[in-house]
Symmetry: none
Subunit: 171 residues, 4 copies
Amino acid sequence: MLMTIDGSSSEPLYVQIRDQIVAGIATGALEPGQSLPSVRALASDLGINLHTVNKAYAVLRDEGYVAMRGRAGAVIADPSTAASPGTEAAQAKMGDELFRLALAFRARGGTCAAFLEAAAAQADRAYGAAAAGIADGAGAAAEAPHPAAFAGGAPACIDSASDSPERKAQR
Amino acid sequence: MLMTIDGSSSEPLYVQIRDQIVAGIATGALEPGQSLPSVRALASDLGINLHTVNKAYAVLRDEGYVAMRGRAGAVIADPSTAASPGTEAAQAKMGDELFRLALAFRARGGTCAAFLEAAAAQADRAYGAAAAGIADGAGAAAEAPHPAAFAGGAPACIDSASDSPERKAQR
Amino acid sequence: MLMTIDGSSSEPLYVQIRDQIVAGIATGALEPGQSLPSVRALASDLGINLHTVNKAYAVLRDEGYVAMRGRAGAVIADPSTAASPGTEAAQAKMGDELFRLALAFRARGGTCAAFLEAAAAQADRAYGAAAAGIADGAGAAAEAPHPAAFAGGAPACIDSASDSPERKAQR
Amino acid sequence: MLMTIDGSSSEPLYVQIRDQIVAGIATGALEPGQSLPSVRALASDLGINLHTVNKAYAVLRDEGYVAMRGRAGAVIADPSTAASPGTEAAQAKMGDELFRLALAFRARGGTCAAFLEAAAAQADRAYGAAAAGIADGAGAAAEAPHPAAFAGGAPACIDSASDSPERKAQR
DNA sequence: GTGGTCTAGACCACT
DNA sequence: GTGGTCTAGACCACA
């Protein structure tokens, strides 16, 4: 599990760490039960302060991604087990973020199908990704494997788009 | 175009303004060529500082949503002609945000189909929405109209999903 | 809203602050919308580091008791509004704590009625308390107003007690 | 008396042991006079360090739950004869914990009756429980048997509840 | 050895 | 002016 830090990013360091660990969990690079490096070790590896790593771990613990066992470091939590409280809150938050993105997409003149295409492309990127190295997202290229197949088969928002005739953009 | 400010939100005020204007553009409440209220007027309407509105407008300009015309105030940009420099950067950023969301979704144990279902639900919400009042996203309920239709017709991540077990076997 | 800190307590300082603010909210000494002192001001008043107060505020924010508005300090959240996510999680946690206390009470030889009496006494203390000074709990005297009335009218656990005949303690 | 340890819990190991022994005493699985396993035996059974079990026993002794008899190991104390010094301190502590819970409950907007209902539900859980396996409280569902009967018959906080509106008027 | 807590001083974004 | 973040160094509880 290789991790890198971009000190010049506007993203807080502890968020960068959090995101990479979440990505690691998602791609299977980090499996439930596996131990994370100690705060001191990771801090020294990354060349940052241990409190920063500590905060990242605390956030991950609060979000239910890892369990802290004081004694023996932090371990990846099993998502199936315990279904940490706050899960549905987190899901609602993700829904709202998707909504915001969809609005921004539409405001840019993108069609609904194009948005779903983009979502499918990113989903493929996230779900197809093996445990290979995943950068922290700065300028990633987004190679969509086969988005067209998706856009063609999804009638979901053709309806919604057609039922808002007062919308005059897209021209 | 009614706008409201939630002073107790953790979202910066200028971001709240930006989001609502973007939502207005998306829903058609604000059309290309239309003038935004002057910085002074909006600031006084909302009871906030000039600088805050100014910053919101600057962000919208940088993102290519509006064009600033010195004396004449700000007007909504036409997305089709908007070859503004920030556009592709903004699009890449949206792709990355979708990617991050997909990763977080997967890390929580969600399937690819479920993610696309959620994306479709939010897309319906964003694209189906007329120019009615759209709150700034505080805990909206979403109510996906017909997500199942989407999940059924999307071959995009059936593949990714099906190669998930064999990924598990790789280790 | 007077606050005191006991540096010799085993309770972390930030928890002491949190508890007193929660107590203030409960008793009405702090009302929804009211501003809390700034981290710097409170820290200097209490003679502790601002980071400690900051942590207390962060915990209160995470628990949904207060809203942080970066710009203008922290304000008491309205419990009726928004019903912050994680509420049911917090309630489950409180239920488990009550369960643990009930078990400890029973292990000490206390009857079920006595436990409910104690709970009623403390409930009266918490709910009857006006906005008067409430110490941070070190050796409080627990003046139960009228616990007997309660114990007499509650048939709830007479049954439960009698239906566990294998229990041989209480003698 | 089966005991289990959750190494990934945030609860210290010695507290987990203490809680399970207290639960055992409460449910009758451990009776006054009965011997606890030796420190060595329990430590080896649980696969943890001697010191950890030792600390758990020391805490139980300090709280008056068990009596240490040098060579003969630890035996469950008889609650009726237990005039141990720590007893009243422990009882005061339990009262304070109830008070803190009641305050937190009220601060979240819960009524006094609801708090007593929750307490009654947990009391039923604790007092109704036979010597069956009692997990260490991770997300147990509770299922209050008949809380309504309790809330209806308790005049204790009807008073407090009814003076709540007039308290609001005082300001 | 682990993470948790407290202190201290600095810079930054937002208003 | 506010809180948020990062750094730095120290002590403590737990194992």
